[in-house]
């Protein structure tokens, strides 16, 4: 029996704005399956985003949805979660939104270890504004503002999240569609700030500038570069050259979660009255 996505989609809000071949829809379907697996109550789930193509995702899902300003999803979401810790708070957005203009909020949400899940759709580009390079655009690659090749080094978003203190970090790809919901399920179940980076594709503004002849070629690249963490353990450094690890990259269940810690602050304050 096929999965019924419609029960989570807002009536009348499709078709979405994403271009043919864009992977964001695959990620959205993964998120919906994950929500269904966990039986998340829609009215008790907030989905918060910033600005950009990926940040349009919340508008399609029938929950409490908050499409904020560019880069600010994590900061708005921190307010929602701290005010109502009983809510499920899921963030989503793109690489530029999350790691450039929103980079500060991102690392500090990681540091606080506040119980939210951030799905970053990394398509290596600012798609909505027409294909400018982002902090995730590989060095040497072309964007509308790097016509001679990108001189900037790029972020490894998952490593950034781990370094900043996130306690669950996973990576998947838009090609490995069946893995996405499993990663998101595990991320939401984790008590703490969880980051799920999904390597995605933007055929419209990135692929065509970087010699990808088709969406299939872009998807095949995701298939080729992805190496599950388990498989990587048996591979040499040479074999891992140019590859990207996928799966659950990091998990720490010992670091205190922020809203639980704040509940203790309230207890201490009340005791001090």
């Amino acid at each position: 029996m096929s999965f019924d996505y419609d029960k989570y989609i807002r009536p009348g809000k499709l078709p979405h704005i994403w271009c043919p071949g864009c992977g964001h829809g695959i990620v959205m379907k993964g998120l919906i399956r994950a929500m269904d697996t966990l039986n998340l109550k829609k009215e008790n789930t907030a989905i918060v985003s910033g600005i950009g193509c990926a940040s349009r995702l919340p508008g399609y899902i029938d929950c409490c949805t908050l499409h904020t300003a560019h880069g600010r999803a994590a900061a708005f979401a921190t307010g929602v979660k701290l005010a109502k810790p009983e809510m499920n708070v899921i963030l989503c957005g793109g690489d530029g939104d999350g790691t450039a203009i929103g980079g500060n909020h991102f690392i500090h949400a990681c540091r606080r270890n506040i119980d939210m899940t951030y799905i970053i759709m990394n398509n290596y580009i600012y798609g909505m504004t027409g294909g400018q390079f982002s902090p995730a655009t590989p060095t040497g690659h072309k964007a509308s503002t790097t016509p001679y090749g990108n001189p900037d080094p790029c972020f490894d978003i998952a490593k950034l999240a781990i370094g900043a203190g996130a306690t669950f970090v996973a990576r998947g790809t838009a090609f490995h569609a069946n893995q996405i919901d499993k990663l998101i399920v595990e991320a939401i179940q984790h008590k703490g700030f969880s980051v799920v980076e999904i390597l995605d594709d933007c055929p419209t503004t990135y692929g065509r500038r970087n010699k990808y002849k088709s969406v299939i070629e872009m998807m095949n690249r995701l298939k080729e570069v992805a190496v599950p963490v388990k498989a990587a353990e048996k591979m040499t450094a040479e074999q891992l050259q140019g590859k990207v690890l996928t799966g659950v990259l990091y998990k720490d269940e010992t670091k205190p979660e922020y809203t639980a810690e704040y509940a203790k602050v309230i207890e201490r304050a009340k005791a001090s009255k």
Binding site: E43, T65, G79, M87
Partner: protein, 377 residues
């Protein structure tokens, strides 16, 4: 029973006023000269089960309070000049998405880092024109510690009633001076809460104007599902670029404040009945102005003061009425003539507007004002 009395500074009074008004969430970032607000909130909020969060930057603090407000909390942030600049994008977000919140901004010297510990009144235009796009503006400018407390409560009430950000802007003198303050009893001062929906969740629209210019706002996590965006939106909260909807919604957002100026505006008239010369003043400057009016009266000059308590929306009606019966206005302010622009606009050339403008971090003293009063012929 005797009322509770204290001796405290304006910033501390602001925090206590917020607590009286039912504030349960504070998001802030350290900045001089407003930090005491955050410090008091960090002590007091958790005692009542509220939440205090120190965010990573000013705009993050603004974002956090907007998120918390959508989750049903009454929210406050405090800042000063540079912080106000940094918050501006999301103050606009609060305006268009119609999210109640109170921004307490202590005016210090500027622009940029300016004089962090020196007083100014140079953010009053920023309160109205700081964020881009057309939007409503409510800004209160208290002149004493007691009034800071009272006006913060009123700011929460206005914010909840009109579903829009409200700013309270004392200058640094008011924020840091210590005065006697008398706390009202619980229930003594009216405390308003936002209208929440009465319709079932499936019928709820966050911008449903069939309920008037200020539609009810549900809280996230209260059983209602809805969408909030910073894009121009329809009544159901979803984005639109349809010209007639965008026009109507923008006009409504401004109208809900502008059409209620009489409810929002507050001012004090001091010795105006027979006044020939009117000193228009706000914040700490009005304290020098009051003294100057008394001195002028002793010297036989019919001077009076119109004290602006609500800077935005500007008290056009009252100033225009004065302009048609007095000989001139004197406006002392700690900036290079911001309120002066508004007075000129309202005076419409009928009477002179004489300014005393200081941006050197020193208060304007009464003597300067008396001298200027004498220049009005």
């Amino acid at each position: 029973m005797a009322k509770k009395v204290a001796f405290m500074q304006g910033n501390e009074a602001a925090a206590h006023g917020a607590l009286y008004a039912g504030c349960t969430f504070f998001g802030g970032y350290p900045i001089t000269p407003s930090t005491e607000v955050a410090e008091v909130m960090s002590v007091e909020l958790p005692k009542v089960g509220g939440k205090f969060v120190q965010m990573e930057d000013e705009i993050g603090a603004m974002a956090a309070i907007l998120g918390a407000s959508l989750a049903g909390s009454k929210v406050l942030t405090s800042t000063s000049g540079p912080g106000l600049s940094l918050k501006q994008e999301l103050i606009g977000y609060g305006c268009i998405a119609e999210i109640p919140c109170v921004v307490f901004n202590v005016m210090r010297g500027g622009p940029s880092t300016g004089m962090p510990t020196g007083p100014s009144q140079s953010d009053v235009m920023c309160a109205k024109w700081g964020t881009h796009g057309d939007h409503p503006a409510i800004c209160l400018t208290p002149a004493s510690v007691q009034e800071t407390y009272d006006e913060v409560i009123r700011a929460f009430n206005l914010s909840e009633k009109y579903r829009t950000p409200v700013m309270v802007m004392p200058d640094e003198i008011v924020a840091h001076m210590r005065e006697r303050i008398v706390f009202p009893e619980p229930g003594e001062v009216e405390v308003l809460d936002r209208k929440t929906p009465t319709v079932p969740p499936e019928q709820y629209k966050p911008y449903d104007t069939s309920f008037g210019d200020v539609p009810p706002l549900a809280a996230f996590g209260s059983g209602y599902k809805f969408h909030v965006t910073g894009l121009n939106k329809m009544q159901d909260g979803f984005p639109t670029t349809k010209a007639e909807i965008v026009q109507a919604e923008e006009e409504r957002q401004v109208r809900k404040v502008e059409a209620n100026v009489d409810d929002i505006a507050s001012f004090e008239e001091y010795m105006l009945d027979d006044a020939d010369v009117v000193v228009v003043a706000y914040g700490s400057t009005s304290r020098s102005a009051r003294y100057a009016v008394n001195v002028a009266r002793e010297q036989g000059i019919k001077a009076g003061m119109f004290r602006i308590k609500t800077f935005w929306p500007f008290p056009d009606k009252q100033i225009k009425a004065l302009a048609s019966r007095v000989k001139g206005f004197v406006i002392p302010e700690m900036n290079l003539g911001m309120c002066s622009i508004e007075l000129e606009r309202c005076a419409q050339g009928k009477v002179p507007v004489l300014g005393i403008f200081r941006v050197d971090g020193e208060p304007i003293n009464p003597d300067q004002i008396v001298e200027k009063i004498k220049e009005v012929k």
